[in-house]
C-alpha cells in the first residue's frame, strides 16, 4: 500500500511491496489541483547550461519507438541506425535509452543494435488493446523475451479494471512479471481509457504492487496519450509507494511528447516531484518517435544561436 500510516494498516503491506494493495486507502486526486500544479511546472523557465543539460538528459531517456502494422525489418533497422547515430555532427551526444518495437521485430532490433548500449523494449500482452486470454498474453511475453527483449511493455486489462476486477488485473501483471523473467517490466495503464485521475492513481498502485519496474501512461494508440497531469498523478503514486516500501519504480510517459519544450517541462515535474534520484534513464523514459529530432534541433540552436530546420536532421 502506498501510504505509510503507522498503526492503521498491516505491517505486511508496508514491508512487502508485492502484496495486493488495499485500494480503498489510495488517496483521491483532485483534477483541478493537479492541473494547477502542472501549470506551475510549466512556468519554470529553463535557460543556458541547465537547458543543455536537460535536453541531453531528455535524449538519453528516449525509447525510440515504431509500433505500426506496416513495420518491416528494413524500417526497424533504419530506426536502430538513428538510435545509434542521433546526430553525429554534434559531438558528445548521449544515445537514446532503448528502441521499442513489436515482438516479431525484437530479433531484428537486437541484431542491429549489437555492440551498442541501447536496450530493446518490446510491447507484449496483445498490445495495444490487451483483449486476449491470459495464456496468449503470457505466450506473447515469452516470445518477446526469447527473442532477446531487455524490456517488456505490457498493457493492463482496462476492461477488467473498469469493471472493478482489480484482483484479475493484479494477478495478470504478476503472471506477466513471472513470464518476463529478467526483462524489465513496464506496465502500460492506458490512462486515456481510464477516465479519471483517481483511476490512474489506483491503477498505478495496483501495477506497482504487482511488481512493475516501470509504470507507463499509454500505448500511443489512444488519445489522449501521455499528458502532464496523468504523469504527475503517477509520479505521486510512485513517491508514496517508495516512501512506504523503499522500492523505486520508474515512469514512462508515452505518446504526444514531441517537442523539446514539453520534454523539459516533464523533467521539471520529475525533478520537483521525485527528486534527483529519478533523473536518469534508469528511472524515467519518454516513449516517443519524433521527440529526438526536436531536442536535437534545440541543442544545435543553443550551440549556434540559429534556429534550425528539420531538413538538416535525419528522420530515422
Amino acid at each position: 500500500m502506498a501510504q505509510a500510516v503507522p498503526g492503521t494498516m498491516s505491517l505486511a503491506a508496508i514491508d512487502n511491496p508485492f502484496v495486493f494493495p488495499d485500494l480503498s486507502r489510495v488517496p483521491p486526486v483532485d483534477e483541478v489541483g493537479i492541473n494547477e500544479r502542472v501549470a506551475r511546472f510549466q512556468t519554470r523557465s529553463i535557460k543556458s547550461a541547465s537547458k543543455i543539460a536537460g535536453l541531453k538528459l531528455a535524449l538519453s531517456m528516449i525509447d525510440l519507438t515504431t509500433l505500426e502494422g506496416q513495420d518491416t525489418p528494413g524500417k526497424v533497422r533504419q530506426l536502430c541506425q538513428k538510435a545509434i547515430h542521433l546526430h553525429d555532427a554534434y559531438p558528445g551526444l548521449p544515445h537514446v535509452a532503448a528502441v521499442c518495437v513489436y515482438p516479431t521485430m525484437v530479433s531484428v532490433a537486437k541484431q542491429a543494435l549489437e555492440g551498442h548500449d541501447i536496450r530493446v523494449a518490446s510491447v507484449a500482452t496483445a498490445f495495444p488493446s490487451g483483449m486476449s486470454s491470459r495464456e496468449v498474453k503470457l505466450e506473447d511475453t515469452r516470445l518477446a523475451v526469447a527473442a532477446g527483449a531487455d524490456e517488456i511493455d505490457m498493457v493492463i486489462s482496462r476492461g477488467a479494471f473498469l469493471a472493478g476486477q482489480d484482483r484479475y488485473v493484479f494477478d495478470e501483471i504478476v503472471a506477466v512479471r513471472e513470464a518476463a523473467g529478467n526483462a524489465h517490466l513496464k506496465v502500460i495503464l492506458e490512462t486515456g481509457e481510464l477516465g479519471t485521475l483517481d483511476r490512474v492513481r489506483r491503477a498505478s498502485v495496483l501495477a506497482m504492487h504487482a511488481g512493475a519496474d516501470f509504470i507507463k501512461t499509454s500505448t500511443g494508440k489512444i488519445q489522449p496519450a501521455a499528458t502532464m497531469p496523468v504523469t504527475l498523478v503517477m509520479l505521486q503514486a510512485i513517491r508514496d509507494y517508495y516512501r512506504a516500501t523503499g522500492r523505486m519504480v520508474g515512469v514512462k510517459p508515452a505518446g504526444g511528447i514531441s517537442t523539446a519544450k514539453l520534454a523539459l517541462h516533464y523533467l521539471v515535474m520529475l525533478n520537483e516531484t521525485l527528486g534527483s534520484a529519478w533523473m536518469t534513464p534508469e528511472w524515467f523514459r519518454f516513449g516517443a518517435s519524433s521527440l529526438a529530432n526536436d531536442v536535437l534541433m534545440q541543442l544545435v540552436k543553443q550551440d549556434t544561436g540559429r534556429y534550425q530546420s528539420a531538413d538538416y536532421f535525419s528522420k530515422d
Binding site: 500510516v5 488517496p27 489541483g33 523557465s45 541547465s50 517508495y242 516500501t245 523503499g246 525533478n271
Partner: protein, 491 residues
Amino acid sequence: MATPDNRLAFDSGWKYDPAPESIDHISIEKRYGLFIGGEFVAPEKGRYFDSVNPATEEKLARVAEADAADVDRAVKSARAAYSGTWSRLRPRERGKYIYRIARMLQERAREFAAIESLDGGKPIRESRDVDIPLAAAHFFYYAGWADKLEYAFPGRRVKSLGVAGQIIPWNFPLLMAAWKIAPALACGNTVVLKPAETTPLTALKLAELIADADLPPGVVNILTGAGETGARIVGHPGIDKIAFTGSTQVGRSIMRTLAGSRKKYTLELGGKAANVIFADAAIDQAVEGIVNGIFFNQGHVCCAGSRLLVQESVADEVIDKLKDRMRTLIVGDPMDKNTDIGAINSPMQLEKIRSYLDVGQAEGGTMYQPECPLPAKGYWCPPTIFTGVAQSNRVVKEEIFGPVLAIQTFRTFDEALSKANNTAYGLSGGVWTDKGAKIFRMTAAVRAGVIWANTFNKFDPTSPFGGYKESGIGREGGLHGLDAYVQLEAH
C-alpha cells in the same frame, strides 16, 4: 540513488540557471510628484521619500509626500471633477473610460509586472500571472456595471456618493488600486487614492496611464505618503466615503476617526485563516494548497492560510510531504522567472517576521526551514513552519504577514471547526476533504467571508471578498462590491 530512510533528494542534480525578466522595456522616473487634477504636481512642502527595491536595497525613485494642503487640493480636485463632469457623464460613457483603463493595462501588462516586482519584492511569476491580469480584469468587470447599476439593487434608486478616499496596502499594490478605483468610478464617484509608502510606483504608473486614457482631470487623484497622509485623507471633511485595506489596528483607528461623521466606510483588515485538512482529502493537492495558502506572495496576504489544522491520522504524512515541497521552493531574486518566494517587502516587515520566529521558538514550537541560499543584500525569509504549537501560542493567534505557517492537529470535525473559529479574525478559511457533505457543513460553519474548499487563495473580479468579525466590514469584488460605492434610496 535512493536514500536509506526512503527520503527524496531535491538538493542535488539539475539546477535551473537564472532566468531574469527583462527590464529594458520599462521606464521609471527619477522623481514623482502627486497626481492631482490630471497632472503630476510638486508637493506643497517639497518633501520626498525614496521607494526602495527590497531585493537589492537600491533606490528606485523619489516620491512626493503629500501633507494636509496637498490632500485638500486633491479632494477639491476630486470634488470639482465629481460635480463638474463625472457625475454628469452618461453612465455608458463612464463605463467606456473604465474599459479604456482595462485595455491599456493589458497592453502594458509586462511593464507593470516588472515594476511591481522591483518595487515590492514579489516574484515576477506572480505579478505577471496574478496581480496585473487580475487588476485589468477588475477594471474590465466593473466597467460593465457602470450603465447597469439599477439591476444590481432591485427596488431601489441608486446614487453615487461623491468623493471616495482610498488607502491601500503594499502587498498587492496595483491589484488593490484596481479593487478600489474600478467600482468607485463605475458607480459614479471620484477618487483620492493613497498607495502604501513602500510600494507607490505602480499606482504612479497607473496615474500616467489614466492621464493617457484622457480621463477627465480630477476623477482619479493619487497621493503618495505614509500613515500621516492616510490619516489626513480619512479626516478630510470633503470626503464622502473611506475604503481602507490594511491592518486591523489601523482599521480600528479609522473607525474611531470616522465616528459621528456619517461617512460611509469599508474596511479590509487582517486575518489568521485556518486551512483544515481532513484525512480523506486529496492529500497531494492539499499539500499544494497549503503551499499556495501561506507562501504565495511571501505570506504577505491578509487571507493567507496561516494556521494549518490537519487531522492526526494523516498529520505525519502531510507534514513530511509539505517539507519535501518546501525544499523545492526557490527563494531569491523576484525578477527571476523561476523564483517562488521573493523578497520581504521592507526591513520593518522582516523585523516583525523575525520577531515572531523568535517568539514561536521561545513558546516551545519546533521550527523548520528548508536549507536555501539567500542573497546577501535585500530582505529575505525562507519558508517556515512551526509544529508543536497550540491555540494559545502567539504564532497561532496573531497575524504574522510572512511565510510562516503554524501547524496544529485535530481529531474530530467539531474540534477542527472549533479551532478554526477560535479567533478574532474571520477573513478566509480552507477545507480539504473528498466528501461533499462534509465540505458543505464545514464551509457553512466557518465564520469567514471567503472559504476555499479543496483550493486556496483564488481571486476573481466577479467574486466578493471581505471579512467577518475583526477582519473588516464590507465586500470588494462582484455584485456585492458595488454596495460600498452607492447610496440606495426608495423610489
